[in-house]
């Protein structure tokens, strides 16, 4: 069945043949003759689960829990299960997944393929760190079980492999006991980006939730002011009531009105409004769903940039470069005078390998309206990033070129070579893999 598919950032769309199998025999009968893209929730910022002429295999009907072992702190589920559903089940039994992406509609398979990070990468690492075992199907290779003992290299390639190694059928992941039923959250005001980083370093060891919101829609002395959201898991009786529903995110649906309210002309006022509305220093208690999945309760945001959508630029600046980078970054932003719709910072601690968005440093999530002037700024930022050893999150950035990605990721060629060795016919393709020439 033909469907119009669109990335969440609105920058890529195409018509694809979409197949939603609901029985295993339908998956195992997929032949090795046609190009395939695997889709879970289908809500990546960039087009990571469709593109070109690839037939899209949507795994949403494979969403069953397969095993739960509280003694060994392990859960196993099919790849199409959403992290929201997994969280609801685990929380009921006093457990959680340590690394939670920002939207509950994201699938388990998507978390593995994109190797997502959560609200506290500094403490918890990446999703790949939780994966014990993956069942993978490749039409030319059959069904494979990947673990740290079996097909270890393929497991490494699959976690953060953008779905290019095959169809993830199910996975066993490590879980952790839930240390509370809500977050005790404080909003800490910060005066600029450097101040944010300095405060992060004071707070990083003892917070379960740590990120910032900064205002880069102004270029005066208050540029970069904002707040740090710092939270600890606590037990409260009664726990704050979670919202009953959230509005589902469906980037593929035609919007009736796509007139954006987030525009360069409105951004400064909108950000100032948000800054003053949320600057209260009083601690508040936030239910788990709102704290873990903030994207679910702000779905309007994704359509607020209008028909052209927005561009996400997520970068990881190494600790050693942060002060130099901030200076050059601010100079560049002031020169281009492009207002950012969203700026959020987080701390990272890890080791970069293959195409994994990992390392030790500060993560910047930057949103800009999708227009030529923004692209010009991002092009200059790419050059700055290369000079400073900064990497860009490939699953979030819809416009990054293959050449830039190769310069940023030292093991880019190694990833491509290993993938070609495993799958010489390169059966699995997406808009992302085509753009990056993987």
């Amino acid at each position: 069945m033909k469907r119009r598919l669109r990335s969440v950032d609105g920058s890529y769309s195409c018509t694809s043949d979409v197949f939603e199998p609901d029985r295993y025999r339908q998956i195992f009968s997929i032949g090795a003759q046609e190009k395939i893209a695997v889709q879970g929730g289908g809500i990546s910022y960039a087009a990571t689960s469709f593109g070109g002429s690839a037939r899209v295999i949507n795994m949403r009907r494979f969403d069953r829990l397969l095993d739960f072992d509280p003694d060994r702190a392990i859960v196993e589920a099919e790849a199409g299960i959403t992290v929201g559903r997994l969280h609801t089940f685990l929380a009921k039994h006093g457990f959680t997944v340590a690394v939670q992406p920002g939207h509950p509609q994201i699938s388990l398979g998507g978390c593995i393929a994109a190797n997502v990070h959560g609200k506290s990468h500094f403490r918890e690492g990446l999703f790949a760190d939780l994966v014990e075992q993956v069942r993978l199907f490749h039409p030319a290779r059959g069904e494979l079980t990947l673990s740290h003992e079996q097909h270890r290299e393929l497991l490494e390639l699959t976690c953060g492999g953008f779905g290019l190694t095959g169809i993830i059928l199910s996975a066993r992941i490590r879980i952790v006991p839930l240390a509370g039923n809500c977050f005790d959250v404080r909003h800490i005001p910060v005066s600029n980006l450097a101040d944010t980083v300095a405060r992060f370093n004071e707070l990083k060891e003892d917070h379960d939730l740590l990120y910032s919101w900064n205002d880069l829609a102004r270029f005066d002395r208050h540029m970069g002011r904002g707040k740090i959201v710092a939270g600890r898991l606590v037990e409260r009786n009664p726990a704050p009531t979670p919202p009953r529903h959230y509005r589902r995110l469906d980037p593929h649906r035609k919007s009736i009105a796509r007139v954006g309210i987030i525009r360069p002309a409105t951004l400064r006022a909108l950000n100032a409004l948000y800054y003053f509305a949320t600057r209260s220093a009083r601690p508040s208690f936030l239910d788990l769903n709102r704290a873990l999945f903030p994207g679910a309760y702000k779905s309007y945001y994704f359509g607020a940039y209008g028909g052209a959508g927005f561009l996400e630029h997520q970068i990881l600046v190494p600790d050693s470069q942060i002060s130099t980078y901030l200076e050059e970054f601010e100079t560049l932003v002031r020169r281009h005078r492009q207002r950012f719709g969203l700026t959020a910072l987080k701390l990272f601690r890890g080791n970069q390998k293959l195409l994994r968005y990992d390392g030790c440093g500060v993560n910047f999530s930057l949103h800009l309206a999708n227009r030529p002037k923004s692209l010009a700024l991002l092009e200059d930022l790419d050059a700055l990033n290369i000079r400073n050893g900064v990497i860009t999150n490939l699953v979030k950035d819809s416009r990054l070129s293959a050449a830039t990605a190769r310069l940023q990721y030292p093991e880019f060629e190694l990833f491509a070579r290993r993938l070609a060795e495993f799958d010489p016919s390169r059966l699995f393709v997406t808009a992302l893999s085509s753009r990056l020439k993987i």
Binding site: D22, R64, L66
Partner: protein, 243 residues
């Protein structure tokens, strides 16, 4: 309560298992492929703490003796039987492959009747006994597409009417549903003139109606009026319709 769902691996069958487990029913789930029902059973047990047993069998070739309660303990003390399995085919428009024709009849009618026949004696006097069949609006009036499917579903409906009459004085209830469009893989992205119901909604209504009197119902209910008009269309108009 203990329920058997035949055709449980996907669509309405799967939605029914979820709804029944949510309400505390222990389950036996029957479908052709163990690879589908084993994970389904584990999911239901983990999510709802009920007992779920699996039975993998192809409805077209199922030996009814295998599911007789005397032979297989799993089928003992059954309260509800849901017959959901069904299959249609795009080639069902007149002249078609003989094997395909026979499999459509076997799955949609013969297999279902065999199961009812095997379990009827045990269900008849169960105080909470239910035999629930699923038909289709396609059986309301014969048309040029889904010919064998419609005919076999019509046969099943007729069979259920007979069973209902047979059990008129027994505690066991016999309910039959004529289903309209449902948003399952069978429908796919096919554009339909009338809206498709979600399998979860249909399953909820079917389980809500446990304990209600025996009889035939359209689901969703408004299909009754649509099909009333459809059935009453004069042949001179009907023959021109591309349905």
């Amino acid at each position: 309560m203990k329920s058997l769902v035949v055709g449980a691996s996907a669509g309405l069958g799967r939605a029914l298992t979820e709804e029944l487990a949510r309400r505390g029913h222990d389950l036996i789930i029957l479908a052709s492929d163990e690879r589908d029902i084993a994970p389904l059973a584990r999911n239901l047990m983990l999510s709802h703490s009920v007992t779920v047993e699996t039975f993998a069998a192809d409805l077209a070739t199922l030996d009814p003796a295998k599911i007789r309660p005397g032979r297989d303990e799993r089928f003992k003390d059954l309260d509800c039987l849901f017959l959901v399995a069904g299959v249609s085919h795009a080639a069902d428009i007149g002249s078609m492959d003989q094997a395909l024709l026979e499999s459509l009849i076997a799955i949609n009618f013969v297999g279902a009747a065999r199961i009812v026949n095997a379990l009827l004696d045990d269900l008849t006097f169960r105080p909470n006994g239910h035999i629930i069949g699923v038909g289709s609006v396609a059986a309301a009036r014969a048309r040029k597409s889904n010919i064998v499917y419609g005919a076999s579903k019509r046969a099943l409906e007729f069979y259920f009417a007979g069973i209902q009459h047979r059990l008129a004085d027994a505690p066991c209830r016999v309910q039959f549903y004529r289903l309209g469009y449902m948003a399952t893989q069978m429908l796919g992205d096919r554009k339909t003139l009338l809206p498709a119901a979600s399998p979860e909604h249909v399953a909820r209504v079917m389980v809500d109606r446990l304990g209600s009197p025996s009889g035939v119902r359209y689901l969703p209910g408004w299909w009754r009026w649509v099909m009333l008009i459809f059935r009453m269309l004069p042949w001179a108009i009907f023959r021109r319709l591309d349905v």
